[in-house]
């Protein structure tokens, strides 16, 4: 039987209250959102926080998805299942639908949150690749107010993020650009498993050429979960199979997968190329008004 070590438990009733509690308990306190990464780690005693600060009561502040100007704002406490069910979000960005359908399983998705996924910072986290591809911005609140960090600078290493111990991730903001298509491709060993490898693609087509491209990669050791060299290759070129395949090849070249129980490194590198190619092709097909290539 797996039992967490002892800890103090506090329930936050507002964001400022959560920040006060973080201040009071100091760096050995941890936020708990869905708890679906943290509680398993506590059960295995891989994590032994002295205090848990529960933010599940903050849905009215942190659980909203809304279009605000030319951005889509997603609260940190939005559950995976809520993002999957949100038609505004998944119509604007089909990459969310693609990814959320294959993150964990439907029951886990009822608890796990968008913010928890990003803050966990697991090198195989699907949403880290998704938000990197989308060039989202993270909104972080601390005692001194709020600040923003581009998601591409949010992850500073495995399980390390830009969020300080006395801060809270409160929101992800995704730029909405007309003429943009997006998609996600993942290979997993079985339903509900973490990716062997996965790739997300976001492209904006303007006057027949690719004006902007975002490629997110997870579980393959891509720095900051993105592939800037491959993105660069796409800019200014007309979308097409060959261009996408070359971008995939470049993306695979720049990642650093490790062999583990999910597969050998060379297989993962192969997947990085192939999944990038497939994601780009599908992203291109769902650019609004695009003729199928």
């Amino acid at each position: 039987m797996q039992v967490p070590a002892k800890f103090e438990y506090e329930r936050a009733d507002s964001v400022p209250h959560a920040l006060q509690l973080l201040e009071r308990y100091g760096p050995e306190a941890r936020i708990v959102a869905g708890g679906h990464s943290l509680i398993p780690m506590m059960k295995l005693r891989l994590a032994q926080p002295e205090a848990l600060i529960d933010i599940n009561g903050l849905a009215s502040e942190l659980g909203r998805i809304a279009v605000e100007g030319d951005e889509l704002a997603i609260g940190a406490l939005v559950r995976h299942a809520e993002l999957l069910d949100d038609v505004t979000a998944t119509d604007l960005f089909p990459i969310f639908r693609d990814a959320e359908r294959v993150i964990a399983d439907p029951i886990v998705r009822h608890r796990g949150t968008v913010g928890g996924s990003l803050c966990q910072g697991d090198p195989s986290e699907d949403l880290s690749a998704v938000f990197a591809a989308l060039r989202a911005t993270a909104v972080i609140q601390g005692p001194g107010g709020t600040r923003t960090v581009p998601v591409r600078q949010f992850h500073q290493g495995p399980y390390e993020t830009a969020v300080e111990p006395n801060e809270l991730l409160i929101q992800l903001r995704v730029p909405i650009t007309p003429g943009t298509g997006s998609a996600y491709e993942k290979v997993e060993r079985r339903v509900g498993d973490w990716p062997v490898a996965a790739a997300g693609a976001v492209i904006t087509v303007s006057d027949g050429v690719i004006a902007q491209a975002g490629i997110g990669l997870t579980a393959v050791g891509a720095e900051h979960f993105c592939a800037p060299e491959a993105e660069q290759h796409l800019i200014g070129r007309a979308p097409g199979e060959e261009v996408f395949a070359e971008a995939g090849r470049i993306a695979a070249e720049h990642c650093e997968p490790h062999s583990d129980q999910r597969g050998p490194a060379d297989y993962k590198r192969h997947l990085a190329a192939e999944l990038t190619r497939r994601a780009l092709a599908r992203a291109n097909r769902n650019v609004p008004g695009s003729a199928t290539v």
Partner: protein
């Protein structure tokens, strides 16, 4: 810490340690052993209960997180001595063998039919994809849930 959890419509107040998991609160504190406990790693889904109407894996939820909220376990499915349609479906279609996965399957099935009274096979398989069954090969579980959907329809038609 003192918590009050409403389980199957009845409030229970208990003094618990924050580290107590919901599955053990239900089984050991309240004696509701219909909720099973298997992998302990949020994979198998036998510990699934409804928290405020939504299926969750109770081995990965702290009991204190259910304070002030409503939990439904398999014991709460029948009404006035009559089994729920999903329970009847599992009986009619041989939806269980050893029964270890069954309580969790029933609670997810109930949630699915509340949300979507007429699910197709793909939607049923998707809904239960976070729960493992070592016995049935899933075929009869899918049939059982479909049976419950059909039974509920024909009941509505009669009314």
């Amino acid at each position: 810490m003192r918590i009050t959890v409403t389980v199957n419509g009845q409030p229970y107040t208990r003094e618990v340690e924050p580290r107590l998991l919901l599955v053990h609160f239900l089984r050991d504190e309240l004696g509701l052993t219909g909720t099973h406990w298997g992998c302990d790693t949020s994979n198998c889904g036998v510990c699934t209960v409804q928290l405020d109407g939504v299926p969750v894996k109770s081995c990965t939820v702290l009991a204190v997180m259910a304070d002030g909220r409503e939990v439904t376990t398999v014991e709460g499915l029948e009404r006035d001595g009559e089994l729920d349609a999903v329970q009847k479906g599992f009986v009619e279609c041989h939806g269980l063998q050893c029964g270890f996965c069954t309580p969790g399957m029933l609670l997810t099935a109930r949630w699915l039919l509340d949300r979507n009274p007429d699910p197709d096979e793909g939607q049923i398989r998707e809904a239960i994809s976070g729960q493992l069954c070592r016995c049935t090969g899933y075929e009869n579980i899918v049939r059982s849930i479909r049976w419950a959907a059909d039974a509920s329809h024909s009941q509505e038609a009669r009314q």
